[in-house]
């Protein structure tokens, strides 16, 4: 079978690896559209993965790899902005992970190999979604298993909790009433009290904020016109419209991005879903029940307002009264679309 990849600490720049990736691998089928996305929030770990597998990256090899991202989730490691691997749908965001610097050899997510033909390696999200796990000879988790503060691994479908329950853990806190806010604030302060002497024990607002940051997932439903099966995407797994749109394209098997990737500052591929060149457009329903084109407002505001997503045929989207070219904000961020959209 495949050689078991070792774990050396080397990091490579995403750029170099991804070329090899692009050459060797085909587009990853956006597995499981849903939340499952693939547990590779791991930026660092994934890069290591790619180095090792850069050459001879064959298609058939990642089955046994799983998005175990011990190494990947090192907080505090500076991640080049280009490394938006984890931006695909997956269960967690890297920032939710505690520091794993105590770990020796990180377990890297497999997906790298399965990254799409796009320039950026989104494989992280996707490949792992497909599931594989590598059983390293020395199981890193042996070291951490019993620790008092266990590292979080992002593994598809693990721990085995039904989606309904997961959603309730995370989504309803978004619409919580005052009491629930207080209750959660109390919880956080109780939990944190030991650690930092109750510094969080006051100030509900502060807790609300920190709660928002710690919350691991924010799933919203996504439906594409013409596809009877709805999926779910974890918005907290992405930090930009580009990342989200790319993830959705993969999830719904929309036309692949051509290999002529625009070399934007971030190295992120330009999503056709957002630039209006596809027959589909990405829309969302906000808290007031109105359907809006995605990209109008800053990402953070979008997260606060969005309830669900819909990939609409552009003929319908026109009726929303805006052009297909998305809002100013997106234009500024990407720097790709020269002209501002019509008002």
């Amino acid at each position: 079978m495949q050689m078991v990849r070792g774990y050396d600490g080397g990091l490579a720049s995403p750029g170099s690896v991804s070329k090899a990736e692009a050459a060797a691998a085909e587009e990853e089928e956006g597995l499981v559209a849903d939340d499952v996305g693939g547990g590779a929030p791991g930026k660092a770990g994934e890069r290591e993965e790619e180095v090792l597998s850069g050459d001879g990256e064959e298609e058939g090899e990642e089955e046994l790899d799983l998005g175990l991202t011990l190494g990947a989730a090192k907080r505090g490691k500076s991640e080049p902005s280009a490394a938006r691997w984890g931006s695909c749908c997956r269960i967690l965001t890297a920032k939710d992970f505690p520091s794993l610097s105590s770990l020796g050899s990180p377990r890297s997510p497999s997906a790298s190999s399965v990254s799409s033909s796009s320039g950026t390696n989104l494989g992280g999200g996707i490949g792992t979604g497909v599931a594989g796990t590598r059983r390293a000879a020395e199981s890193v988790s042996h070291d951490v298993g019993g620790s008092s503060h266990p590292p979080s691994q992002v593994v598809v479908g693990w721990p085995p909790i039904r989606q309904f329950r997961m959603n309730n853990l995370f989504n309803h806190s978004k619409d919580s009433t005052l009491e629930a806010d207080t209750a959660v604030a109390i919880k956080r302060s109780n939990i944190a009290g030991g650690a930092d002497g109750g510094s969080k024990a006051d100030n509900g607002n502060k807790d609300h904020e920190s709660r928002g940051k710690v919350r691991s997932s924010f799933f919203v439903k996504v439906k594409m016109d013409g596809d009877p099966i709805g999926r779910k995407v974890d918005l907290s797994a992405h930090d930009s419209y580009e990342a989200l749109a790319v993830a959705l394209e993969l999830m719904f098997h929309l036309p692949t991005i051509s290999s002529a990737i625009e070399a934007s500052v971030h190295g992120a591929k330009i999503s056709k879903l957002l630039d209006g060149s596809l027959e589909f457009a990405l829309t969302y329903e906000d808290k007031d029940g109105d359907w809006m084109l995605v990209g109008d407002v800053p990402w953070g505001m979008f997260l606060e307002a969005v309830k669900r997503l819909r990939i609409m045929r552009t003929l319908d989207a026109n009726g929303l009264g805006r052009s297909i070219h998305f809002g100013k904000h997106f234009n500024k961020v990407s720097g790709l679309i020269e002209s501002d959209p019509p008002a």
Binding site: M1, E26, E29, L31, V32, A33, E59, G60, E63, L64, I91, L92, D96, P98, V114, G129, V130, A131, T133, S139, S141, H142, G145, G146, S148, H149, P150, P151, S152, Q153, V154, V155, V156, G157, W158, P159, P160, I161, R162, Q163, R165, M166, N168, H172, S176, T177, L178, E179, A180, A183, N190, I191, A192, G194, A195, V214, S216, I229, G230, R231
Partner: protein
């Protein structure tokens, strides 16, 4: 057949039918049907309840033809691991084929229970139109339908008694679906809409339940505010099973006392659930009914240990408790002291990814419960640490377990004190619990645990394995032992081709086998498929590769494998990521 003496003719058919009606289980009726042609004929015409554990195991038309008098059917679709997003969303499990066949052959169908199937609005409309005496619709973990489909059910099923929607993905496109119940409609006994995400028109709901004198179960969704719960309860004081809506509101003494008296007015309450966003403020409103409760589901409430203890220690007759791990060891110790009749415990993680500070829920809680609750037989426990010693103690305390599911959230976690694998602990469980029917393993495990399971778990019907084992031997132990094994699901274990091929015949005695992220190759699957024509060997490969599966070499690794016995041959509704090998 034995010629001459046709002993079955000693009695008229009706007598045999009456005799068969006492056979409790389908398995017994199946056995009776094999005795002779006469019994086969009599049995099939008198069977009115059918359970199809795998919707692809038999052609719908064949099932309908064989049992023409069926009134109640239960059908399951996707494999269990679909609950955890391991199965592609377009894998299958569509209900249309079954609903169409049933509409054709079972016009008198009264009950339909579907689990993990894709049910479209068209299906619901077909059900609503074709079954004139339809009484029970239960959909569990299904998807593909909307509230428009529910409107069709509401409008047309004049004798509907149960509408039980449990953890389904329901599209919300028909706000007023409940208004489609006619004014004359009064037959509801069970209404469970807890999984609906949209707003519910509470006034319509009030009127609906107000005219259903037999309503026993009412489970609301989280959109129903606490203030409205009061009015609802006043209309159904005969309620036995209540699922609240949102259980939080601004503190208001008047609301509190109204709620308290409304709940107290439900003198038959045995089961409580819901408690979405529950906080400490309104919890005491339910104290008056705690003594009578046999089932309590607080697993959606992020209540803290002290509140939980105050509540649960009043529930002296509790038999089933579902709770979050916020209860912690101290809470479980209190439960063990108060709830001596406890039979089933489920502890869910409030923080599955360990993002926050760890909760103090450890092996001690489990041990305390096992020691204090002699009637405990079913456990689902999520925690972060475990020891062999604790499991040995639990095994000793509870030899009557029928279901033991332990999920140590970090894969490969050893005994945290001895650093040993947890083989000894789980072995003790299977050796002590002779009636164990369901087992889920976790933690660091070698092939040894599988040896014990294969040898001792004689009643085991369902086994879930993840991140365990050293090699092929593990799987071989299971497949060559566990004589009652029906469902085996494995993920991320180093099990390969050999044990599968060596135990091919075993697979025909089981309902299904799921293996994902293991070490199985395409070649072995091909061999298995050739060797075992009564199995569907489904290879699921979600990554598009250059070559179609037919052209891939034998050593191509298989990502996901789903094998099930079937008399229907390969199914025709496979998506592009699924290949059925022949």
């Amino acid at each position: 057949m034995v010629g001459g003496f046709r002993w079955a003719a000693m009695f008229p058919d009706e007598v045999w039918e009456h005799v068969f009606s006492f056979l409790p289980a389908d398995a017994d009726r199946n056995a009776a049907a094999l005795v002779c042609r006469a019994w086969y004929r009599i049995e099939r015409r008198s069977r009115w309840r059918v359970f199809v554990g795998n919707c692809y195991a038999v052609e719908p038309a064949a099932a309908v033809r064989r049992f023409p008098e069926v009134r109640a059917a239960a059908i399951k679709g996707k494999p269990h691991f679909a609950d955890f997003n391991l199965v592609p969303s377009d894998w299958g499990g569509g209900a249309e084929a079954w609903v169409e066949a049933m509409a054709e052959g079972w016009p008198h169908l009264e009950e339909l229970r579907l689990k993990r199937m894709v049910v479209s609005d068209d299906c619901l409309e077909l059900i609503a139109r074709c079954f004139k005496n339809f009484k029970v619709l239960s959909l569990v973990s299904c998807e593909g339908f909307s509230t428009a489909g529910l409107a069709a059910i509401a409008a047309n099923c004049r004798n509907l008694r149960e509408l039980d929607l449990h953890e389904n993905e329901v599209e919300d496109n028909c706000l007023h679906w409940m208004s489609h119940f006619p004014e004359s409609f009064a037959s509801l006994v069970t209404l469970n809409i807890a999984c609906l995400e949209g707003e519910v028109n509470v006034s319509v709901l009030e009127r609906l339940i107000g005219r259903c004198p037999n309503l026993k179960t009412l489970r609301l969704n989280h959109s129903v505010p606490l203030e409205r719960l009061v009015g609802l309860l006043h209309r159904v004081p005969q309620l036995v099973d209540l699922g609240t809506g949102k259980f939080a509101a601004q503190h208001h003494p008047e609301l509190f006392s109204k709620l308290e008296s409304a709940i107290a007015g439900c003198k038959n309450l045995k089961s409580l659930s819901g408690f979405w966003e529950a906080g400490p403020t309104y919890l005491p409103a339910i104290y008056s009914v705690c003594e009578g409760l046999t089932s309590l589901n607080l697993s959606y409430a992020t209540l803290q240990g002290p509140e939980l203890i105050k509540l649960i220690s009043r529930c002296k007759n509790l038999q089933r408790l579902w709770v979050m791990d916020l209860i912690e060891d101290d809470g479980l110790i209190a439960v063990a002291a108060s709830c001596k009749l406890l039979q089933e415990l489920r502890v869910f993680p409030s923080d599955p990814y360990g993002a926050a500070q760890p909760i103090s829920l450890t092996e001690h809680g489990l041990v305390a419960i096992s020691a204090g609750c002699p009637m405990l037989h079913s456990v689902l426990y999520f925690c972060r640490q475990m020891t062999n010693a604790a499991l040995l103690t639990v095994a000793k305390n509870c030899p009557n377990f029928t279901c033991f599911r332990l999920c140590i959230m970090e894969p490969h976690t050893p005994d945290y004190i001895t650093r040993q694998p947890l083989d000894a602990g789980f072995s003790a469980i299977v050796e002590s619990c002779k009636h164990l029917r369901r087992l889920s393993l976790s933690g660091l495990l070698t092939d040894l645990v599988f040896k014990s399971i294969g040898a001792s778990a004689n009643c085991l019907e369902m086994l879930s394995v993840a991140f365990a084992g050293d090699g092929d031997a593990g799987l071989h132990y299971i497949l060559s032992g566990c004589k009652n094994l029906r469902k085996l699901e494995i993920r991320d274990c180093p099990f390969g081709d050999k044990p599968l091929l060596d135990n091919a015949a075993k697979l025909e005695t089981m309902r299904s086998l799921w293996m994902s992220s293991c070490s199985v190759t395409l070649g072995a699957c091909r061999q298995l498929a050739r060797k075992m024509p009564l199995l569907n060997v489904e290879v699921i490969n979600e990554r598009k590769r250059g070559l179609p599966l037919e052209l891939q070499p034998d050593n191509c690794p298989v990502e996901k494998l789903y094998i099930y016995r079937t008399v229907a041959g390969p199914r025709s509704d496979t998506p592009s990521c699924v290949w059925i090998l022949r």
